[in-house]
Amino acid sequence: MVINVGPQHPSTHGVLRLILTLDGEQILACEPVIGYLHRGLEKMMERRPYRHNIPFTDRLDYLAALSNNLAICQCIERLGGVEVPERAQYIRVLLMELQRIASHLVFLGTFGTDLGATTMFLYAFREREMVLDLLEECTGARLTYNWVRVGGVPDDLPEGFGQKVLDFVKLFRQRIEEYDMLLTRNRIFRSRTQGIGVIPKETALAYGCSGPVARASGIPYDIRKVAPYEVYNRVEFDVPVFEDGDVWARYLVRMEELRQSLRIIEQVLRDMPDGPVQTKLPKIFKPPAGIAYSRVESPRGELSFMMVSDGGANPVRVHIRAPSFVNLSVLPRLLEGAKVADLVAILGSIDVVLGEIDR
């Protein structure tokens, strides 16, 4: 039997359509159909000056807009050889980690709902709202922040922002314990996630998985450690790596990343120097001809931008490597032989964002 899951389905987290070939409860084959959200962003970017493209990246991975902003700005900075002031780098790292917490909280909430734990959704979104309030105070927007510029960040942190973040960190440490009580120690949750949707290390490598999906399969690969950008080489944090590669391991990786993000935030706030937050650049920014590539560890994995310049005001070619797109490609392989009931758990554990996949 062939059935469609999506494009409109609450557990596909967007407009993703999965064509499933079933034999009773077993999935024989799965074909993801993407492109419902295609806006041609790469082409749009080739038509606009470099700095006009930053707000468009908010619409890629809309749950982690700041990571996308950072990735494109780093790429343009490399293209033009722009230096970033030290304080701006610290602010960037601080905002990135807040963004990672917000994004992982969406994962936690929706993953809980997918598996029937609706309470988790309410609690995770309550805490996410706190992060969004912090980001709103700093950037002025709640989802499409657009708060990284070529050569720094547009403005300094608002008055008393550091203390508010520290208060949140203190509170959130306790709340993570509650999440552990609700989900990690939950009998039903454990039974539904352990040993399900196993990605062996070789498969993860072959498909080019990155981020929590790769780390749950035993690949110690985190751009923040492998190729540190901004000030990630100055902060101390662990990268959780699990050997098992199942849904449970992917969940645990993200839970541990929440804790590590809090550690990074504390260190960044402690070490943040004073100084300017933006480098002065000419009104019309024309980087020299060349090619630049930048990569960033977004909450979903390795996000990278490639830009080609011919010395003009617009980029000639822009390419985006979206982590969700690459991670989703492993799904058909994962779902072969799985049960229909596990589909939602497996798809949820990969944590895809369709805005990024379709671009």
Binding site: R48, R51, H52, N53, I54, P55, F56, D58, T119, Y123, R126, E129, E136, E137, C138, T139, G140, A141, T144, N146, R149, P154, D155, P158, E178, M181, L182, R185, N186, R187, I188, R190, S191, Q194, G218, P220, D222, K225, D238, V239, P240, V241, F242, E243, D244, D246, W248, A249, L252
Partner: protein
């Protein structure tokens, strides 16, 4: 990097699983009980509103300069050039030191509220305010004209044009005399 094996359960044992299930239930109740006594976080939106932070990026406004009795905008179109989606168009009024705008239109149906125009403005003329209730069922409502955007509305626009035209006229009056004087000086 810390490498570890995930905590894993033993093989299925009905008794262990039953006890574990009871513990799960107890844990869930503990969390629920704790949350029962926490303050409510729900905001009943149309009746209650959250305070909006000062940096909030909502509906635009053109700043009114009380001292000069005009809008700060000089019609330099830097904001229009900084806009990735061509939201802004304007009609310039006069030129030189007293230049201003007689019309300033923003098609907010296309706007991304990205703040780039605000950052581009060298005259502190355009800002984003706290108003976020911009949804509408009609398309033409998304077009905001100068009277909708200027601080002080119609009245401000009228005064703005008045002030600028007066200054321009004064300048015009001063100019021919000066030019004639200069020309006269040359001929002599």
């Amino acid at each position: 990097m810390s490498r570890q094996r995930a905590m894993r359960d033993t093989e299925y044992n009905p008794l262990v699983y039953f006890i574990d299930g009871l513990v799960t239930l107890f844990n869930g109740m503990v969390v629920t009980w704790r949350n029962l006594w926490r303050p409510k976080i729900t905001v009943r939106y149309p009746y209650q509103r959250r305070p909006v932070p000062p940096r909030y990026r909502g509906l635009f406004y053109l700043k009114w300069n009380e001292e000069k009795q005009r809008l700060n905008c000089v019609g330099c179109t830097l904001c229009a050039q900084a806009c990735p989606t061509d939201v802004i168009s304007m009609v310039k009024l006069g030129k030189g030191t007293h230049a201003g705008v007689s019309e300033f239109t923003m098609d907010l149906g296309r706007c991304m509220f990205c703040n780039l125009c605000v950052e581009a403005c060298p005259f502190d003329a355009i800002y984003m305010g706290p108003n976020y209730e911009l949804a509408s069922e009609r398309r033409d409502v998304s077009l905001f004209r100068i009277a909708d955007l200027a601080q002080g509305g119609e009245e401000a626009v009228r005064k703005n044009i008045e002030t600028i035209e007066r200054l321009l006229a004064e300048e015009e009056k001063a100019k021919p005399a000066h030019a004639a004087h200069a020309a006269g000086g040359q001929s002599e």
